[in-house]
């Protein structure tokens, strides 16, 4: 299989652009936290490269700092990242003609943002080569994440919180959410998903998000008239 479609790659890179300051801000926060918890530079880089998932990295750092048992740290990170199994299932159908080695690499790059932008871009009319757009979104996120977690650890600095740059992240999901609510069952999925996540905000392990996603889909299928 040859190189990913460059036009689609550029399209993806343009789409992810507004998220870059937000991801950079988050990366700085994680880098600062890792430094404060006594991670060496190599360990912080290792965490960003091997895990590459912000919320679970932050939880890992905090739990290590608090001296939590190893099993608890691993389990916490796994539960926080469990939502990615839904992303994997949801996007898999677009990737099934792609060679194995590409799919493994693309799976490694799967994040909330890469999933959300790509699944909305593909819709009912996916490009002939879905790798281009996906990598155009995912690779810049990866690069910015690696750089900013290192800068955060080294500099210990961060962007003033009141500028609210991380607020761009929910705005992107909001921009994707509105067209995704295209009929009764999908609107119900969103209504239930959002309400459950808001009510479950105090639950540990980011469970509110996972529960919201599962119950939102269930509601669409059972009472939303979305059954097959």
């Amino acid at each position: 299989m040859n190189a990913p479609d460059p036009t689609e790659f550029r399209r993806g890179a343009r789409a992810v652009l507004p998220l870059i300051p937000a991801i950079a801000g988050f990366g700085l926060v994680v880098g600062v936290a890792a430094g404060n918890a006594g991670f060496s530079l190599a360990q912080a880089v290792g965490l960003s490269v091997f895990v590459f998932a912000g919320a679970s990295q932050l939880a890992t750092i905090e739990l290590v700092d608090a001296g939590a048992p190893l099993a608890v740290v691993v389990l916490t990170a796994v539960v926080i990242n469990l939502r990615m199994m839904m992303y994997s299932a949801s996007i898999a159908g677009y990737f099934d003609d792609i060679a194995e080695r590409w799919r493994a690499g693309m799976a490694y790059l799967l994040t909330d943002q890469a999933y959300a932008l790509s699944i909305s871009h593909y819709g009912d009319d996916p490009p002939s080569d879905p790798r281009g757009y996906y990598l155009g979104v995912a690779l810049p996120l990866w690069i910015v994440w690696q750089i900013t977690t290192v800068v955060g650890l080294l500099a210990g600095a961060s962007i003033p919180e009141k500028w609210g740059v991380t607020f761009a992240v929910p705005l992107v999901f909001l921009a994707l959410l509105v067209p995704a609510m295209k009929d009764r069952p999908s609107t119900l999925a969103a209504g239930v998903g959002g309400s459950v996540a808001a009510l479950g905000a105090g639950l540990p392990l980011n469970l509110g998000l996972l529960l919201g996603a599962v119950l939102g889909v269930t509601a669409a299928l059972t009472i939303g008239g979305g059954e097959a």
């Binding site: 507004p18 991670f39 290792g46 965490l47 091997f50 895990v51 590459f52 998932a53 290590v64 990170a77 990242n81 939502r83 990615m84 199994m85 839904m86 994997s88 299932a89 949801s90 898999a92 099934d96 493994a104 799976a107 799967l110 959300a116 609210g164 607020f167 761009a168 929910p170 705005l171 992107v172 909001l174 921009a175 994707l176 959410l177 509105v178 067209p179 609510m181 999908s186 609107t187 999925a189 209504g191 998903g193 959002g194 459950v196 996540a197 808001a198 905000a201 105090g202 509110g208 998000l209 919201g212 996603a213 599962v214 119950l215 939102g216 889909v217 669409a220 299928l221 979305g226 097959a228």
Partner: protein
């Protein structure tokens, strides 16, 4: 925690996270399409997940109700722009401008 333990921890979490990400991408690549009932259900993952990522940023409950008025106002402005334009850039611009207006000027 000593260095070796910490490295083991990082690798374990990294491996587990990769397996989660790869799970269905791997399976579907091997077996072909998912059963129709499953792929039909998966069509509702995007709206459910997007809403679950968005709503708690504006309103959340963890024993007490949290409402951030500036973020909620900015979210409503952004939602209206998203509704009328379905344009990502316009939505983000409207949301950030509304946030800064409410936070620094009002």
């Amino acid at each position: 925690m000593n260095d070796l333990t910490l490295w083991g921890l990082v690798l374990a979490i990294g491996a587990a996270t990769f397996l989660i990400r790869y799970s269905f991408i791997y399976l579907v690549g091997r077996t072909g399409d998912l059963p129709p009932r499953i792929s039909h259900a998966l069509a509702f993952v995007p709206p459910a997940v997007f809403a679950a990522l968005v709503v708690p940023e504006f309103v959340s409950y963890d024993g007490v109700l949290h409402v951030a008025p500036d973020q909620l106002g900015a979210g409503i402005a952004a939602a209206l722009v998203a509704w009328y334009t379905e344009n990502m850039f316009a939505t983000i611009a409207a949301g950030m401008l509304a946030l800064w207006t409410l936070r620094f000027l009002v």
